[in-house]
Chain length 444, copies 2
């Protein structure tokens, strides 16, 4: 009896976690490596960024997800490279972990299309820590506006620009509009939060381009009813700490958020293989890397065609690939049952939400928009949330927010007071020391 | 008709928030200044630090608490000084706010008794941001232990030392013991979390010295049943990044937490008045500062004797003083009804919790310890939580945690991976590159 084969999984997103769970009771040892301690339910991350849900509602500790799976261990560490000849994963922390099978499920990050300097002024939303700091920035913008005597600066603080009309941009736009126009409407004394502008910029001719045209039109109308300005065919030319320029129009804004396009993490370099222009590794039909049959790549890091079309970078693809990878390894590791055929993605449909009570659902033959679609969206999302506690807790917070229009998690927990936006108003207050006094006197 | 008098309240803790709410519909304008955006329910902060509750469960945005009170405004800002002659509060941000009445409710911070350098290696727990970073440090200690091959270093990572046997030290000790010995017990593969040591160090002869002796003894026994080592009559001599020395005994620990004694924030300097040795301002029987009848000081920042005894620095004192200050100002601002007499604190009793299902309650004649006291403690705490949503949500999370022994909020959301504890193990892993390999092979 030799030792059990060792499967190393890098990344505990949808693909990685499904692969790990799929190897439960398999004749292998499993090591999951992630640089965070939690599996994140990314489709609801925008709710954390807009104070609707708490971080704990949409994240489950990886250890907790796998704690009953005795053949699996978890390391909080960052993979830094792979030695394919020696079959080792190098960690940034200095150690190396040997593998017999390697599953790379490292996902993607946002693509600034060569303008990486824009990231500082237009952050994006991938990790829980991004969500918490975006929440802080959004809330601080309103706080700073309350103390800002200069109308132009106040207007810039109350202008939110979303770059990219995909699901994340649309969801954030709708959610910020609801926050400003409804949840916060009685909370300030020196301005009306309903005056906040929310602008969604899309380079293409319509938002939510992955959906049929009638559904994207319905979504755009719903966004506009919430008070969002939608600008299509608008190319961003410049981003700085005072705003954004798109197709020749300048918008002064202290809150530019980037949601346009993704690029895979640098796994191509690790394996020394060619990638496509957004960093994805072309894989064989069994998800293996050409020339490396024992290395599988899943999810946003993989490039795979099916019926002449590229598979999209969405959760269901990653989840189905994770399950497939586990089945493949079980068979190759000698478990009875035959090896699965080539991977095939089963597209069950596409959903996106626009705000309270409105979503669009595309199930192929069935296309829905409005409240019914939104209820469907809620149930689909809660169903997939890992962990029973989270399902109940999210449901409760949503129900409560729905009834009261409150935001449960409106907390600024970072350095006190939050650095970026607040600092920007300091000079204006110093310019005009009596301004607050004057304004205070205007209270009813 | 002149303008309404302006009441400025610095600090939105228990005293400040009660004063602000007490001035609802009074013939005054109210400005609340706080350097965070939330009122914090501090008695449950230890639950955030030990991953039992989420930050949003124990904090309410100050704006939300006061959003219906049209005579009140809120500034997220930090007070930096007071000009008593010009009747102005200076903000660190540069502006100044004029007042007719000033209420100082700035609370306290932990007292390192002259060893301020110890704070870096032995953090304390006052703000929500302290709670989140303490949670992160505690969770990272376990994560680092999983990858630490050296037994002595692993032991230091799994040793938690609480300095100070007051309520916070006792609550944290009990809660960390439950986390390690119960909630995490199946989550690691390279060590048994039940081997974690939790040590509570108290300089005096017994813990919870504010309680009668029989109750502190009961609490100590309950702690010991949870696996906490209690060391009384132990003076801390040295704290460094490798551990702590107390009464000649060295304890190697990467997790030293300071909960010993408090000192008032530097309000004495602002007003240029003498304070006592822990920074509190002696106040008159109407809470005013001698020589400054329009400045009131509340809560931990105030020093006041009643019946020959100093009032303790506890929430109920601050809350009652806040309500008193509001009543006094209402009368002085010309509202009908006579001015209240000197402030009197009504002591309703004292509670402290030791862990799941055990608390002590001292109501004077009635002394309780055990499960019934714990149920009483839960209801008292939830009753005082500001905001209906929080009451339900905390109750739900507690009920769930009680049934499942899970921790709802085991998230590391800071810089990835968390810097302090993790960095400390990097060198050891680098020393012995194959150690993880070896250990991994030992998996069942």
């Amino acid at each position: 009896m030799g030792e059990l084969p060792h499967v190393v999984i890098v990344g505990a997103g949808f693909g990685g976690i499904m692969a790990a769970r799929g190897l439960k009771n398999a004749p292998v040892r499993v090591t999951v490596i992630d640089r965070t301690n939690h599996h994140l339910f990314q489709p609801l991350l925008y709710q954390v960024a807009t104070a609707g849900l708490s971080p704990a509602n949409i994240a489950a500790p990886i250890r907790d997800v796998l704690h009953k799976q005795r053949n699996a261990e978890v390391f909080l560490a960052e993979a830094a490279g792979v030695d394919t000849a020696g079959k080792l994963v190098h960690l940034r922390e200095g150690a190396s972990i040997p593998y017999d099978y390697l599953i790379i499920a490292t996902g993607s990050r946002y693509n600034y299309f060569g303008h990486n300097g824009w990231e500082e002024d237009a952050p994006s939303l991938k990790s829980l820590s991004d969500g918490v700091s975006m929440r802080q920035e959004i809330l601080l913008a309103f706080e700073a506006a309350e103390m800002e005597p200069d109308p132009a600066r106040r207007k810039a603080l109350l202008t939110f620009v979303l770059v990219g009309g995909g699901p994340t941009g649309v969801e954030l736009a709708g959610s910020i509009a609801e926050l400003a126009h409804r949840a916060l409407k009685e909370d300030f004394r020196h301005f009306d939060p309903r005056s906040a502008r929310i602008i969604l910029i899309e380079a293409g001719p319509r938002i939510l381009a992955a959906f049929p045209k009638e559904l994207s039109n319905a979504a755009q109308k719903a966004l506009e009813r919430l008070g969002v300005e939608v600008r299509t065919d608008a190319m961003v030319q410049e981003v700085d700490d005072r705003g954004v320029s798109a197709s020749g129009v300048r918008i002064d804004s202290r809150n530019v958020i980037w949601t346009a396009g993704v690029v895979a993490t640098p796994v191509g370099k690790w394996l020394d293989v060619e990638t496509d222009n957004i960093g994805r590794i072309p894989v064989n039909a069994d998800l293996s890397v050409p020339g490396h049959p024992n290395i599988l790549v899943l999810g946003d890091a993989a490039r795979l065609e099916q019926d002449g079309k590229l598979l999209p970078g969405v959760c269901p693809v990653a989840m189905q690939q994770g399950r497939y990878a586990a089945a493949l390894i079980r068979a190759r590791a000698g478990e009875k049952g035959k090896e699965p055929g080539p991977f095939r993605y089963h597209d069950k449909g596409n959903v996106a939400t626009v705000g309270r009570g409105f979503a669009i659902v595309d199930l192929g033959r069935l296309k829905l928009s409005g409240f019914v679609a939104w209820v469907a969206w809620i149930f689909i999302h809660i169903w997939y949330l890992i962990g029973f506690r989270n399902r109940i807790s999210v449901m409760f917070q949503w129900a409560w927010a729905y009834i009261t229009w409150q935001r449960a998690a409106r907390l600024i927990t970072g350095p006190i007071p939050g650095p970026r936006l607040f600092a920007k108003t300091v000079d204006s207050l110093a310019d005009d020391r009596t301004s607050i006094t004057t304004k205070t006197r205007k209270l009813p």
